[in-house]
Subunit: 505 residues, 2 copies
């Protein structure tokens, strides 16, 4: 490498490292705010966060960074770069262009709008008052339509938004996979609903002392291979995982004494995210590639560990005894199989976050179709509640009686996160597809889970997925792991077999 | 105010606010590192801390800030400034000058040296190997001698160092007050040692379950007026208090099951620091004046609450019953008076941090004299162990058999903190002097403590001390509160009366 290019590269990497470090400092403060920072300090803390965010944004959009990106992108320089540096350059350039294409004042206006809208949404939801929220939603959608034009429209306007959360994902692809998924899941959910073999969930209707739930959460995290020397478990109102760096990936949960499954599966879900972030290669630390490659692949890991391991029969054959030891009275006379069926009960619900593994995908498809209608078909914002309700009737056979239980239930749109929802269902499909490969390569997978020998599973994912962080795209990951593109049939097969067993279909 | 000066002032205040915000972000990360950040993330986190510290230092020493300070210091501009802005200007200028007078490379070299020295000191102390530490200590002292020249020597070289921690404090003043203190405390400690009425401490030689200690610490904090909506109590190896902003002042403690007094008095001590920081006026938030005015005044608050409230007889007349309820077996047959005497047992020790309220001051005087000998009298670093041991023999009548128990016991010198030690004894003197005024104005002080009615005491200190933060100097504080300069006789009177009672002298 010429000394000229070397110097340019070092300056460039210095700025990207600095951005990453500011981001980590912000991550610590966000974690702290959500896990017990004192209320009275929050106002000043938010000014601190604002100051650092603004400094980070200035770095990310600085002329200096732009010039360095340009200099390294010149053919003479670019050909001297190593593969890893090219990937760092590509990722940085992508973010730089995205940020630079939006005028700073426009973006500032948008941040203020969404911040207000999130607060207002809480009230609107509380009062089930869509009319109150509608003008804000209209403005947020208008901003996003402007952003799409500024960023440059892909195949369709909505494609531009999808690409933010799942690089390379398109409406064409989602129409295809969601179509296939829907045609199998709707009849399956109907069969489940009409089955004469509904699971008995009465053993969950007890009080479950919090400290013992905590103990069990810690125990299970250890069993899953979560590294407590590179993370910690805390409590927060809404559970989350945050990868500050691969040596510090924290998760939170929330304990409810009247339902032990919420903390339990919430913890395992966040653990899936954390296993991903804890096992990113140390070589990527300090670079923009040291994080999960997309929301969909990230969600594949939380879903795999939560549902395909944590809600599987072999898992509870191994661990129900341990749980029962902590709550002997509550589970008196209950067998692992009973518990397994109870935690997998499926029935249509109005609220996405309470949905079971099977019907959850339908909630996502509805939101996907709504967002597509907004950005590609120009549906009026005033028509969204009626459209929402019609789709719930069509897909789930139930209809909200209030907008609080309908179109107002999720915060995502108030925050402007259009294109985000599909990640959840993509995660389920990726997870099932990867599990199919895993089971081919490890035919004793069920046996490993039944023995509580879960580390080989974590190691398999580390080798195939985790270590690469963002140095592979989501479609590279799924192709390299499974040998094919995203294919919804594995999720259909998995759900069909699982629910046929539970509901004796 | 002219629009010109107004603009300059706004720019100036913008930079000082930004420095304060960076400092708060760093404070959150330090707190996190010390209260349970995962081990494996520490290396990357320290790079994040390094990046932000370096950016903050650049702000603090920027040409831009220098020009703004100069512009506001011009007579035409200065006379237009309000009192508060003048104080912010003075404080900022003082720090700016201090930082700018040391060449950046020299300071960088010093930071590397002290960082190494602190690590090496641990080994040297562990092996009681002064020869190993000596060359580092020599270098650190040489650096400090250079700094003194660069900053400008005050009356004596050591005065320059004292001024860092206690603005305005001098060798002349300390020689006087420590001389008076010493002449009373040495014979008092001897009388205590020879008393036939040694307290019985056997009730403390039990096991005290940790969760109950925690419960009691939380309870006592509430009683002292610590605001849990503006702070939290955590655990760390070495207890500390950190004022991130007045709405977020956190404290830590460390529980030992074989000795409940360590966590208890440690918690109360840190609470004293925290009450100060929680009650700084909201008007000062975001300015460099939003912190305690000096180490000595800060320590006066930790010592007042720990010793003059927390180790007082009325306090345990009120609270011993509560403690006994938590540990009925351990305290079976023990009365409040017995407990009060046991926690105030005094005897000469080699180790400062285990010293009692009476002999603690002698440990400080020894260190003060050693530091004065180093900087003002040119004593050789190789002679320090012998000098140390001679002074322990002279002041406390005991002599260390190893340097680990002697000159190597404290980390301060390894970190370059010369001039810091006197703050601890200053704190005791300030506290006793302020209590004297408090008792004149609130003759029912003992009664208030005996009733557990402590809020009026906190309010008195808020009105007289806390609210002002750094907007008054330490000598302004002590004069305004007590009507006179620092006067050691109040501490002597207080200790004489207290130990005469306990040891029936």
């Amino acid at each position: 490498m010429s000394s000229n290019v070397h110097t340019t590269l070092e300056q460039f990497l210095g700025i990207t490292r600095k951005i990453k470090r500011y981001n980590e400092a912000l991550g610590v403060m966000y974690w702290d705010l959500r896990t017990g920072a004192p209320r009275k300090g929050a106002e000043t803390r938010s000014e601190v966060i604002g100051e650092l965010s603004s400094d980070m944004f200035k770095l990310q959009t600085s002329e200096e960074l732009g010039k360095l990106i340009d200099a390294l992108s010149e053919p003479g320089a670019y050909e001297q770069l190593k593969e890893l540096d090219r990937k760092i350059l590509a990722e940085t350039k992508k973010e730089y262009d995205r940020s630079k294409k939006i005028p700073a004042e426009l973006y500032q206006e948008y941040v203020v709008l969404t911040t207000h809208a999130e607060t207002l949404w809480e009230d609107a939801k509380h009062n089930s008052d869509y009319a109150m929220f509608q003008p804000y939603l209209e403005k947020i959608i208008d901003f996003n339509k402007q952003f799409i034009q500024l960023w440059g429209q892909k195949e369709t306007p909505y494609d531009t938004l999808l690409d933010i959360y799942e690089p390379g994902m398109t409406v064409a692809k989602l129409d295809q996979v969601f179509g296939e998924l829907r045609s199998s899941i709707v009849p399956l959910a109907a069969a489940v609903k009409n089955s004469d073999h509904q699971p008995d969930t009465s053993m969950l209707k007890h009080s479950f002392e919090k400290d013992r739930q905590k103990e069990f959460s810690h125990y299970i995290l250890g069993q899953l291979g979560y590294d407590f020397e590179a993370g910690r478990l805390d409590e927060s109102v809404h559970p989350f995982a945050t990868g500050l760096n691969p040596g510090d990936v924290r998760i939170t949960t929330h304990y409810y004494e009247n339902d032990p499954t919420i903390a339990l599966f919430g913890t395992i879900h966040e653990c899936g995210h954390a296993l991903y972030e804890q096992n990113i290669s140390k070589d990527l630390i300090g670079t923009p590639l040291s994080e999960g490659t997309s929301m969909g692949i990230h969600e594949s890991q939380s879903r795999f560990w939560e549902n395909m391991v944590g809600r599987s029969k072999p898992f509870w054959q191994r661990y129900f005894g341990e749980l029962k030891r902590l709550y002997p009275e509550q589970f008196h006379g209950v067998e692992a199989e009973d518990f397994y069926r109870a935690i997998n009960v499926s029935e249509p619900t109005l609220i996405r976050i309470f949905a079971d593994e099977l019907t959850y995908n339908l909630h996502i498809m509805i939101r996907y179709e709504m967002e597509k209608a907004i950005f590609n078909e120009g549906v009026a914002v005033s028509d969204l509640p009626a459209l929402w309700n019609a789709k719930y009737r069509e897909y789930l056979g139930i209809e909200p009686s209030t907008d609080a239980e309908g179109v107002l239930q999720d915060v995502h749109w108030a925050g402007g996160a259009f294109g985000y929802f599909p990640s959840y269902a993509l995660g389920n499909m990726y997870a099932a597809q990867m599990m199919n490969t895993l089971k081919k390569e490890k035919p004793d997978f069920d046996e490993l889970v039944r023995e509580g020998n879960l580390l080989p599973v974590k190691e398999w994912f580390t080798e195939r997925v985790y270590q690469y962080g963002k140095s592979k795209t989501p479609s590279e990951i799924i192709r390299d792991v499974t040998g094919e593109e995203l294919n919804p049939s594995y999720l259909v097969e998995y759900l069909t077999a699982k629910y046929a067993d539970i509901y004796k279909l």
